[in-house]
């Protein structure tokens, strides 16, 4: 086992993927608990599509990918939040609309430029080879910020997630906390998108929270379990991907799905006895 890890970590690209992936898995799982409970889980999916479109444009024009994609996806997150709150267009329809439009923009831009490094499949399903040194640094800073903000505001995030009406009535600025969650989600999605792929990244938001909820009935234990399950799934996924030469993103999602099934099974057995 140690030999295997040693061997894997001798590759720079795997080192980078491990660092970025671990941070993203943790951040996505923590935010995911709140998003899933607020019935906002599809926002993650919508944002990853927007990220795909923005990334395609950045690559075509030769701009720094993260520096362009992060702000675009944050703006999209704020817009989606606004749309979900206004009753004119329903939230899920708004997400569907923005997501597919962004996807279409991305595909069009990629086909128009046809540059050598524009590999659609790499964008959509992720690639372990593409993470640059600058991206690792940026991931550490932004991902670290997500984790710290989550811990600092944990109590308020719980209050707002559990009961927005009460939180608002007792003087909490719920708009601010919803915005915080949306911005942190946007950053996490973009950081994880290149490794996991635009189509697969939202599973990191949804799976760990749902898996943890099979067995736990308290918010703190759900949050901690989701974080651990997410991190462990990521590491197992990367190892499997290395051993069997399977795509990293898809391998991680499959391990997440396996954990979900195992937790569901345990919950069922426990309920029966």
């Amino acid at each position: 086992m140690f030999e295997l890890l040693n061997e894997m970590l001798s590759y720079t690209f795997i080192q980078r993927a491990m660092i970025v992936g671990s941070i993203v898995s943790l951040a996505a799982a923590l935010l995911g608990v709140s998003l899933v409970l607020k019935r906002y889980s599809m926002i993650g999916d919508g944002l990853s599509h927007v990220g795909f479109g923005a990334l395609a444009i950045a690559m075509a024009l030769g701009w720094a990918p993260l520096a362009f994609t992060v702000p675009v996806v944050i703006i999209a997150a704020l817009l989606l939040l606004r749309l979900s709150e206004s009753s004119k267009i329903k939230g899920d329809a708004a997400i569907g609309m923005i997501a597919t439009a962004a996807l279409a923009i991305g595909v069009t831009v990629i086909s128009l430029t046809r540059s050598a490094n524009a590999d659609v499949s790499g964008y959509l399903f992720g690639s372990i080879l593409v993470i640059s040194k600058d991206e690792v640094t940026l991931s550490l800073i932004l991902g670290g910020a997500v984790l710290i903000l989550f811990v600092l505001f944990y109590r308020r995030i719980f209050t707002v997630t559990f009961d927005e009406a009460f939180a608002k009535a007792t003087g909490l600025n719920t708009g601010l906390y919803n915005t915080l969650i949306a911005v942190l989600t946007a950053v996490t999605i973009v950081l994880g998108m290149r490794l996991m792929g635009a189509m697969l990244i939202s599973s990191l938001v949804i799976f760990p929270a749902l898996t943890a909820m099979r067995l736990h009935k308290r918010f703190l234990s759900v949050t901690l379990t989701a974080a651990i399950v997410s991190l462990v799934s990521f590491l197992i996924g990367i190892i499997l991907s290395y051993l069997f030469s399977t795509p990293a993103g898809a391998s991680v999602v499959l391990v997440n799905a396996a954990f979900f099934l195992v937790f569901s099974l345990i919950a069922r057995i426990r309920n029966r006895s």
């Binding site: 505001f153 109590r155 308020r156 209050t159 009535a169 009935k217 918010f219």
Partner: protein, 233 residues
Amino acid sequence: MPLISVKDAAFAYDGQIVLSKVSFDVNPGDYLCVVGENGSGKSTLMKGLLGLVKPVKGSITLADGLNRDEIGYLPQQNLTQRDFPASVREVVESGIRSRSLFLTREDKERADAMMGLMEIGQLKHRSFMELSGGQRQRVLLARALCATKKLLLLDEPTAGLDPVVARDLYKTIQKINQENGIAIIMISHDVHTAAQYATHMLHLRQTPLFYGKPDEYLSTYHGQCFAGGVCCV
């Protein structure tokens, strides 16, 4: 000095007046029950009192020393909470409004005291979603009490509860009102029971039809119709 003083307040949505000419005072220790049919403006009044909508005319004034965030609130029951993973303790503690990011020992003691007052101390470590409807309301009341020492707003606290559980909850609310001196403003459909505990009644239909003592209310025309379940014009 009244805790909350409403003077000739009117509220509007999209320029349409939905509630007008509302005036009343709530003094420390009062128990005001607001009744009226659906769409009569009860919820709008509640939002106004919580500061979530501003009156387009008139005023709502809070007593000196009573901050907006010192009003306890029990919202209408919310379906999504029924499958929310949270322990009773976590829910009650979320009522504590403090500027610091983490809870102090005093905060935790206050939460414990409020759970004791609501007689749910033994449920502390249970999951909120496994509780019965009546137990859940007690948890949410304990949370509201964590947020206030003076004034509690309750939005249909007994909706969906069976009569025995509802009666126990009314008794507990009365105890908070009388023994802890916390003023209560409650929206209710249950006119008879509410009139039994309240010190003041306010009947709304876009504008107040009655404001005064409960016994007077039950003897008025509107009170009789509404309490009898038959609505007359």
